[in-house]
């Protein structure tokens, strides 16, 4: 067991423990902070797999964007310092049972299946290769999904502004 393995297990433990605390704690602000650490743990696993670009995107978009957005929405909608109400115990038990049964089923399937690796040579996932592939329109390039995603982001941005716009009362 060398240093790389130890780092992997530490990252895995951080991701899972923080994820579990994020869905079980009753302080909503702490839940957001635990979610942030869980997302950073996933970014660390991407770094460990040497997919640095994806790890950077994960940190910028999730840890920098979505976590801050969630924390702001908590500030806007929640009184500071009060806890979430206690959940009913039967709902907790059945939720945990359903999640555990699904987990066991998927893990049985995964460990019963043998995966075959390809023999072809590895392509380096540098930013140069990613950018070239993303904007090429031949041999399986991703120019069309890229454009569709940009349209989707534009539509989502306009939709957010329209939805969150404060409408004037008609009779006042």
């Amino acid at each position: 067991m060398n240093g790389s393995d130890i780092i992997f297990y530490l990252l895995a433990a951080m991701t899972l423990v923080c994820g579990l605390l994020a869905v079980t704690t009753r302080h909503i602000f702490r839940a957001a902070v635990f979610l942030l650490f869980s997302l950073i743990g996933v970014a660390g696993i991407y770094f460990w797999l040497q997919y640095e670009f994806i790890a950077a995107v994960q940190i910028v978009v999730y840890a920098g964007g979505i976590a801050v957005l969630i924390i702001f929405s908590i500030f806007l909608t929640q009184q500071a310092g009060d806890k979430l109400p206690k959940q009913r115990i039967d709902r907790k038990i059945f939720g945990a049972l359903a999640a555990f049964c699904g987990f066991a089923l998927v893990m049985i399937q995964v460990y019963g299946h043998t995966f075959f690796e390809t023999e072809e040579g590895e392509v380096t996932v540098s930013v140069f290769n990613i950018g070239k592939k993303m904007l090429s329109i031949t041999d399986g390039g991703y120019a069309l999904p890229f454009e569709i995603i940009s349209m989707l982001l534009l539509a989502a941005m306009i939709g957010c502004i329209v939805i969150a716009l404060r409408t004037k009362k008609e009779n006042s």
């Binding site: 393995d5 992997f8 297990y9 895995a12 991701t15 899972l16 994820g19 869905v23 909503i28 839940a31 957001a32 869980s38 997302l39 996933v42 696993i45 991407y46 797999l49 670009f53 994806i54 995107v57 994960q58 978009v61 979505i66 957005l69 969630i70 929405s73 908590i74 806007l76 909608t77 979430l84 109400p85 959940q87 709902r91 059945f94 939720g95 945990a96 359903a98 999640a99 699904g102 998927v106 995964v110 460990y111 995966f115 075959f116 690796e117 390809t118 072809e120 590895e122 392509v123 996932v125 990613i130 999904p145 995603i149 982001l153 989502a156 941005m157 957010c160 939805i163 969150a164 404060r166």
Partner: protein
């Protein structure tokens, strides 16, 4: 034991069902959104692990992960706009208080 594909699949499955558990038990809309983020993250981890260990000569999993991250960002923004609008009209973001489904 050398960490490999099965370890990462274990992590992503566990993260997915942690998210499902949170989605089933939480009542607050913001915490339900957090659970959805966990689920999306586990899917990304799965794509990256398969790309790294099974098809290292292609970059398809990487691009799917990029697009899923972009869609997740758009989804979170729209969801939070809806939540803030709901809070303005109902003064609560509990799912049980939002049951009329009308403007």
């Amino acid at each position: 034991m050398q960490p490999g594909l099965y370890h990462i699949l274990f992590i992503s499955t566990a993260l997915f069902f942690i998210g499902v558990y949170g989605f089933l038990t939480r009542k607050n809309l913001v915490t339900m959104l957090m659970s959805i983020e966990l689920v999306l993250n586990s899917v990304n981890l799965n794509f990256i692990a398969f790309n790294k260990y099974l098809w290292p000569h292609k970059m398809d999993g990487l691009f799917f992960t990029l697009f899923i991250i972009a869609i997740a960002a758009a989804e979170a923004a729209v969801a939070i706009a809806i939540i803030i609008n709901l809070y303005r009209s109902h003064n609560s973001i509990n799912v049980e208080n939002a049951e009329e489904l009308k403007y």
